[in-house]
Symmetry: C2
Subunit: 353 residues, 2 copies
């Protein structure tokens, strides 16, 4: 007997999000049923709701920074029990047999992972619906344990903004002795600063807006460079081992490439399609530099990140909203008017819509 | 008493190369004087002669794939003696004290290396002149030993085409078990095939021209993929650890990126300014792929490559020309009408111009 669920959905690219009733599948033996408490608001939610990446299937229920409590488990589930605080991020399944999945890199699944919303379930072919809703049903392999010492509200953004910045920092071995720069101070950027600092790196924030010094320092930056000021950019030429670029719009990579050391890496985590203005090859040929990309992170790595956050007292800086405020929150997100991530209190769904 | 030298120079961006007499410095205590026997013809020579990279100072004497015999050495030179067969590549000096130089990465010298031609000597400020000439004077630290078992003629292109392809293959640890693709079958590409094969990799050639199968296989490729055929490209999706891209003109990187494995690297060695059409970030974000650049190679690494070539019987496939034929050779090079590198017999300078 499928579950009847209340949530918020976009019914077209131009419609605001509005209350929406839908069904979720009857739990399978490996499923965990989660009563959602909180859901972070990611820029991808807006891109998808408005069909900015094309391919949106309506109605779409966004949300992939999900925190909740287990309310039921299937017969085969041994790692979770009713009452556990758990999380769900951007993926709810993958092929589970390709080289990537075998390495715990489900995000790079050769057959593409099943995403938490706007994706087709691999077993029944029905569309997935995300965390702007009261309940979700997810295979246990894609459910995360939320350590007891983490505040569940501010842990929500760790499931996307957190892992998306953590994974490249770990893959490129950022640690003590690394000189790291983070481009952009938003939901992802503020996590990048916190993680790079906690991993032992010397951290710089690149920003286009003056006046962010004190905030950047509070979040872990030792230095702030105004990227619109050629003199400041020249002063950091050849300085960085690693640039974590969190800017979600097109921007010129060339000035940043010049600030990398020999063998330095500039990693994009935002789908800035396409990369324009074009990159000058000389900026990577001189210095053997790289431009790389990174997509969220694997499930085991996400658990590692959550455990690291619990140990180091790290979580996102958030602003709580009611789900009725989601459309206004999207507009504020577009103006970067949020420090640094909106989180929906799903209890607000209980109010009259 | 400076040395009077005969050579060939371009006197303007539009003038053909023509006989030119000039002076070289009186040898310093660390200098090696080399009677040039052979000089390879690199695409960079043409770019510089025609001022296509701007910044050419006329007259310019190109040539940085130089093989010759030592005719004199300064008092401080201990590693070379009169009669030794030696080589000079793209660089004749560097700052010798930056982090790059300390690591043997003189090509990435923080103050830029002194290039073999069209560059300012660090000591006397005079312009450098390249190997299209009868004699050159070079500091011993930038002179290479040519092993006795290497044919001097076909060794000339190793000094640029060779090291430019060798260095990235080694830096990215290509070896047994690697799946490597080489883009382009020219002076650099044919060396890339030979080296990747000799290093133990499984090698594929990407080419836009049908009919290169037998040549590619002779040079080390196990497979040939016609990059203009979407079906052939689709058949190698996600296959390669490493792409060595030797194409010296602008071209679309996007189709190649899709043929990389997770963590795969696409390395540019040509100044394809700028990178257009633009790269789609999704092509690197999905798969954590990288686009990197690589510039020639360091001096120690160049010696390593020459010794490897001697041990494995590797050298360039060449066509010998007289220096009087250099302008025609440039035109043929532009039409890719050379298998695979022109080498000038400098003895031809002795003939009436």
């Amino acid at each position: 007997m499928p579950l009847n669920i209340r949530g918020y959905a976009a019914r077209s690219a131009t419609a605001p999000l509005a209350p929406h009733a839908f069904e979720r599948r009857d739990p399978r033996p490996d499923d965990v049923v989660i009563d959602i408490l909180y859901c972070g608001v990611c820029h991808s939610d807006l891109h998808t709701a408005r069909n900015e990446w094309h391919g949106t299937s309506y109605p779409v229920v966004p949300g992939h920074e999900i925190i909740g409590k287990v309310s039921a488990v299937g017969d085969q589930v041994s790692q979770f029990k009713v009452g556990d605080m758990v999380g769900v991020g951007c993926m709810v399944d993958s092929c589970r047999h390709c080289a990537a999945c075998d390495q715990g890199l489900e995000q790079y699944c050769a057959e593409l992972p099943t995403f938490t919303y706007n994706s087709k379930d691999r077993q029944d072919g029905r569309m997935t619906f995300g965390g702007y809703s009261e309940r979700i049903v997810v295979s246990d392999k894609f459910v995360l344990h939320i350590p007891a010492t983490l505040d569940p509200k501010s842990a929500a953004p760790l499931l996307c903004a957190g892992i998306t910045t953590w994974s490249p920092l770990r893959h490129w071995k950022v640690g003590k002795g690394s000189k790291v720069a983070v481009v952009g101070l938003g939901g992802l950027g503020h996590m990048g600063l916190k993680f790079a600092k906690a991993l032992g790196a010397e951290v710089t924030l690149f920003t286009r807006s003056p006046g962010k010094e004190s905030e950047a320092r509070r979040l872990g930056a030792g230095y702030v460079v105004l990227s619109t000021d050629p003199a400041q950019m020249q002063a950091v030429a050849g300085q960085f081992d690693f640039i974590l670029d969190t800017v979600p719009q097109q921007h010129d990579l060339n000035p940043y490439l010049g600030t990398l050391k020999i063998n330095g890496v500039h990693v994009l985590v935002g789908l800035v399609e396409p990369i324009e203005p074009p990159v000058h090859a000389a900026n990577i040929i001189f210095g053997r530099r790289s431009i790389a990309g990174s997509l969220i992170g694997g499930i085991a790595e996400t658990q590692e990140m959550l455990d690291f956050c619990a140990k180091h007292g790290i979580s996102a800086d958030i602003e709580m909203i009611a789900i009725q405020d989601i459309n206004e929150a999207y507009e504020r997100m577009l103006r970067s008017d949020v420090r640094y991530r909106f989180v929906i209190d799903i209890a607000s769904l209980g109010r009259a819509a």
